[in-house]
């Protein structure tokens, strides 16, 4: 395991893009300490901002400290495991293709941006555009799993192509907007205009007081979809808490967004009687 203890105190963005378990696996500690990262427009050696110790051979990183100002942690990662014991910045796990990232704190915007595989678990809150496409992309995330225990901001799963996103807390506006396929489940409250422009895929609004859907969604039926229970079981096996009421609840199914292709589904948990 490679230990990276953050020792800097700067509000200027620190970017560690390229620092992945694969990249340093065969490097000596001294080489890793010289690994170039960016502090604003300056290239600096990793050791200037992190106390680096341990052994990279098992492809496991342990970041420690308040890394809210450190960006691109785990970006492009293909294998291995990263733990952040503290907050993390923007673009956590961006475009990763494999491996596991745990943030034991909050993360910022663009967690899992255009992700292509692997698992990200943020145990706190996260920002906007989780599991989303970057601006202009006609396709977003294509594979992988993102679990956020807390709440997130707007445009979760924007233009999602495939993959599973689960939000334990609430989400902001436009969850699953322009979605192509894939699954987004929100267990807490949800902002407005969910699934706008949705083409296919599934959005589950499983919290209390779900918002109204846009006029271009068509109510279908009330059901207890089996696939949802299978996903819940899967989520639990990954250490994500699924509220008890979700297991036995009924779900109202809507089809839409008919302004787009309209073969998507939105499942809204029915309020329990009484």
């Amino acid at each position: 395991m490679l230990s990276l203890r953050y020792k800097a105190d700067t509000s200027i963005p620190v970017e560690v893009e390229g620092l992945t378990p694969s990249a340093v696996r065969n490097m000596s500690l001294a080489e890793i300490q010289r690994f170039e990262i960016f502090h604003g427009n300056r290239k600096v050696p990793l050791a200037e901002f992190f106390d680096v110790s341990g052994d990279p051979a098992d492809a496991r990183f342990e970041f420690e400290g308040n890394l809210a100002g450190v960006h691109w942690i785990g970006a492009h990662m293909a294998e291995g495991e990263i733990h952040v014991r503290g907050d993390a910045g923007r673009h956590v796990g961006s475009e990763m293709t494999g491996g596991v990232i745990h943030v034991h704190g909050n993360a910022s915007d663009w967690v899992g941006g255009e992700m292509h595989g692997g698992l990200i678990h943020v145990h706190g809150n996260a920002g906007h555009l989780i599991g989303s496409a970057y601006r202009g992309s006609q396709t977003g995330m294509t594979a992988g799993t993102i679990l956020i225990d807390g709440s997130v901001g707007n445009e979760v799963g924007l233009t999602l192509r495939r993959g599973l996103l689960a939000i334990g807390g609430g989400c902001g506006d436009f969850v699953g907007a322009n979605m192509i396929a894939g699954t987004v489940l929100v267990f807490g409250p949800c902002g407005n205009r969910p699934a706008a422009g949705m083409r296919r895929g599934t959005v589950g609004l499983l919290g209390e007081n779900p918002p109204a859907l846009l006029v271009s969604f068509r109510k279908s039926c009330v059901c207890q979809p089996l696939f949802l229970l299978l996903i819940f079981r899967h989520l639990q096996s990954l250490g994500f808490a699924v509220p008890r009421e979700c297991w036995s609840a009924n779900y109202r199914l809507y089809h839409g967004d008919h302004v787009a292709v309209g073969r998507g589904e939105v499942l809204i948990r029915e309020r329990e009687a009484g």
Binding site: A133, Y134, R135, G136, S137, Q138
Partner: protein, 553 residues
Amino acid sequence: MSSGFLKIAGGTVYDPAHGVNGERRDIWIREGKIVDPPSDPEVRPERTVDAADLVVMPGGVDMHCHIAGPKVNSARKMRPEQKRKAEKVMRTPSTRSGTMGSVPSTFATGYKYAGMGYTTAFDAAIPPLAARHVHEEFEDTPCIDKGFFVLMGNNHFVMQSIQRNEPERLRSFIAWLLGAAKGFTPKIVNPGGVEIWKQLPSGNVHGLDENVAHFGVTPRQIVEQVAHAVDSLRLPHSVHIHANNLGMPGNWRTTLETMKTLGDSRGHLSHIQFHSYGGGEADENTFNSKAAELVEYVDAHPNLTVDVGQVLFGETTTMTADGPLGYYLSNAFKSKWFSSDTEMESGCGIAPIEYKNTSLVHSLQWAIGLEWYLLAKDPWRVVMSTDHPNGGSFLAYPQIIQLLMDRTYREEMLKDVHPAVLERSRLGDLTREYSLYEICIITRSGPARILGLKNKGHLGPGADADITIYTPNDDKTKMFELPRMVIKSGVVIVEQGEIREPLTGKLLYVAPEYDASIETDISEWFEKYYSIRFRNYPVSLDYLHDPEEVSCA
């Protein structure tokens, strides 16, 4: 005392304009021009480039590309996702950073052209209302000399003059407009079709004799009359035509008709590959190549020239002044779509596209481009282009060169495309391989001559000292991708892929004479219909960086 001479010594020189085919020669340069060797044998050059065993050619000339102006810039704005994933153009102490993808930023465009040994490029389609924008972008496009063609095929004053059967008026207007924009020649794009697009949903013309509503002219008349006017003005380059029905199955007939309409007038048909399709009306299943038929006609008519518009497989961006075409493509590929109609003058459509070798149509398009090169008898009249970026990036030119020079390479690629190519085109039967001499013609000597640029595309005394030096390599893609050295206006601007001196480059324009009394007419027309004042429209000479007038015969 410095002699001011630069000598390129002992290179293997290709200068088809002077019939020089791989001869060992010296080239002398002074004050930005190629000159005769000094008569005094005591005079030493300031610098000698040892070009022994290296191939020396004039700098490349791209006579049809889209690199500046509002259409190109909108395409840049529209494709951040492509730029994000593309090659990064890093800043250096003497060069600016930039982005690539199919629509590079301006500095990157200049550096990349130069890095490939190209020293002149012409933007193919500019609405004159935006001329100023183009001049600004050109000033930020270093290393190459530039010019542009002025859109006129859907210009209201042009159509009115034709309808009124007033060729003198048309002639004067064209001359005035070229001078106002500081452009190079009239460009006709889907004549009449773009005007109909502005009037009707999915509007377009489908034949040369259709009436353009409200204006009472036909596409045929527009082509004929503008071509006459250009020849009577003795512009260095002919009228430049993007014919009606681009991309449609069966459009080869429209193309042939357009060529016939030109009669004896000079005419250049651009990206001819896109206009060489047989087949039924909009029926993909009958899509086939009619390149051979059209090549035969062009070969027999020396007044005609073409550039190919080669398609390469991969992602790119279509951008065209042919507004309805942009709409059609974006619907066909379900992609994002930009369209902008310029008052009184033209339109534009932009849509991302991916050419796939699994697609029958795309594979045929690829094949048809190659057919044109391989079937044409006269390489002086068939110019290499990809209609950058419509068929692909200009960075693909080295690959096209290899496809033309190396039959084995071509056959390998043929194995990977849609099998229908073998039945519906002749490419499988064509064994011709281009020589370096012929490549030199289709990438520099030919286009320079077609553009009427007497000082470009050759290495004789008086030519601009625009020279590219290549290291010979059996892998022609590699050879042409990375010249050893590029000289522009007598300055070494690129060495081993590195930009040494990013100079600004010249703006080449024409200023044909015209009867100034027409300006009264034009200003009245402006007053009635334009949203900008007549006085503010023309671009004055002091607006331009390093302008050079190319005289009219």
